[in-house]
Symmetry: C2
Subunit: 329 residues, 2 copies
Amino acid sequence: MAKFLSRVRALGLQAFGLRYGSTMAAQKLNADLSRELVESVDNFLFDCDGVLWDGKGAIPGSLETIKLLKKLGKRVFYATNNSSSTREQYAQKCQKFGYDAAEEEIVCTAFIGALYLKNINFTGKVYLVGNPAMGVELDKYGIRHTGIGPDQEMIDDFYPEWLTMKLDPEVNCVMVGFDKYLSYPKILKASSYLKKQDTIFLATNEDSNLPAKGDIVIPGTGTMVHAVKCASRRDPIVLGKPERPMFDVLQKAHNLDPARCCMVGDRINTDIGLAKGCGLKSLLVLSGVSMEADVNPESSIFSKEQFPDYYTSTLGDLEKHLQNSQQQS
Amino acid sequence: MAKFLSRVRALGLQAFGLRYGSTMAAQKLNADLSRELVESVDNFLFDCDGVLWDGKGAIPGSLETIKLLKKLGKRVFYATNNSSSTREQYAQKCQKFGYDAAEEEIVCTAFIGALYLKNINFTGKVYLVGNPAMGVELDKYGIRHTGIGPDQEMIDDFYPEWLTMKLDPEVNCVMVGFDKYLSYPKILKASSYLKKQDTIFLATNEDSNLPAKGDIVIPGTGTMVHAVKCASRRDPIVLGKPERPMFDVLQKAHNLDPARCCMVGDRINTDIGLAKGCGLKSLLVLSGVSMEADVNPESSIFSKEQFPDYYTSTLGDLEKHLQNSQQQS
């Protein structure tokens, strides 16, 4: 395979090689493909949980890969659907695992939500079914909001008393993110605000649950979003992976060329989905949710169009391949 | 049309007439069709809100129609997706509006849920995301349950502390109905119980909201169901309209012949949907949610297969047509 690709390059048929990668089966990363990938990309977007760390700590080799990519002049972003952290808090989380992440490199959905509203010159007030981090990111752009924290208003009443619930006439946007204080009054208020069809409806992400082993399921933001979707009978603009806005907002802020970006993730449905939807290159690592069977056309529940361009066991492989490739040349 | 139907009957082609009614456009009720309907049916199932009463009180004429049908020897059931009332409480509600409803005539989803579990000889314990009425109906069959009322357990904690949440090892069924105390700990527990694939998952109904005019949206049971569906990534057996179990359970209890039952309702998607799914005759009244445009093939969002056999303005029309028909004959 390596020999074949060398010949492809020698023949000036690199474009054919890349197309081969995106419409045919996912290619297992090797030294040649690693060099090809790094040469064709300026910006790397990394999903974090399952790529950079897991339940046991930092995944060996990932840190070395990011260091090497930065040394090669690549720009690095940490792209997470997590809506419960500000950029500052998430940078600290990365640092805790040993990654030298700057706040500007963090792409989290609390931040993306605020930037999305700034980009459309939003005026008015946001009703948040969310958390304090979402409030902090909105505050940074001077966007007014209400709704954070527990709300059990009129909980001892019943319908039809609830018809007298007071609404804030200034609210013209509902944003739903992770909210452990989800309650009936909150869902009632969110769906009532959304009854006005010009109220903007945003959701940070629709992840059904957080990674957890054992008996306990930890419900994710999708839980809150689905409750509000059902009651309001409206569909939100979803900001996080696999939907477009996360990349669109980043692209606008940094003037990125999608063809020279690569999304690295451990989930075909979200991470690779974002890459496919936005025209980015994609690398699947098998250190998290997706397994090798998921990129095997014989056993995968995904179609070939959803496959990543490349896949490998762990992100550390990329660094090893590039080092080997350098030693050989 | 009346003449044509008289000829159809005279020629012994009633079956053709009925088939004509169910596969072609909905027929507007008149004296002949009213007689035809009542002659072909032994059991009438009535949706209540929008058929028997609305926000202003009892809908004029509905009471007289039910009285006449009972006088003609027809069996009457009050079939509601409402899960917040026991049969006894709902009979009292009917009586408040002037309807002489007996507890045995009430088909509400709290009752259907309990009867469903009794029919499958359920042993074990139910985790309810629900309300006291559901508990009372389960108690009547001696079915054990837990979960009713507010639950804010570990709400001041975060992931990963939530991984230590205690589960009840006896729970092997989750039933979701209307629950104004919906909370994150409840969704976490429900979806954790459902992680065991042999845990039965029931939902009383999936109505997105309760009927309400004005600015306020009153979220319905669908809200709670969608939250648990998302977190558990499982689909429940839905008991209420338009799904089959409500009629299946009733049919078993009363040995009903579906072809000699008629569902009367104000919603094409739920009431008429149940009729179509179970092979019942159907009458749509326009005193609630659905409008005449909904049964006009030119303007309807529904397909002809979803159309009712008959439609009319209010249930009272049936009584008037039958009285007229009697006077003429």
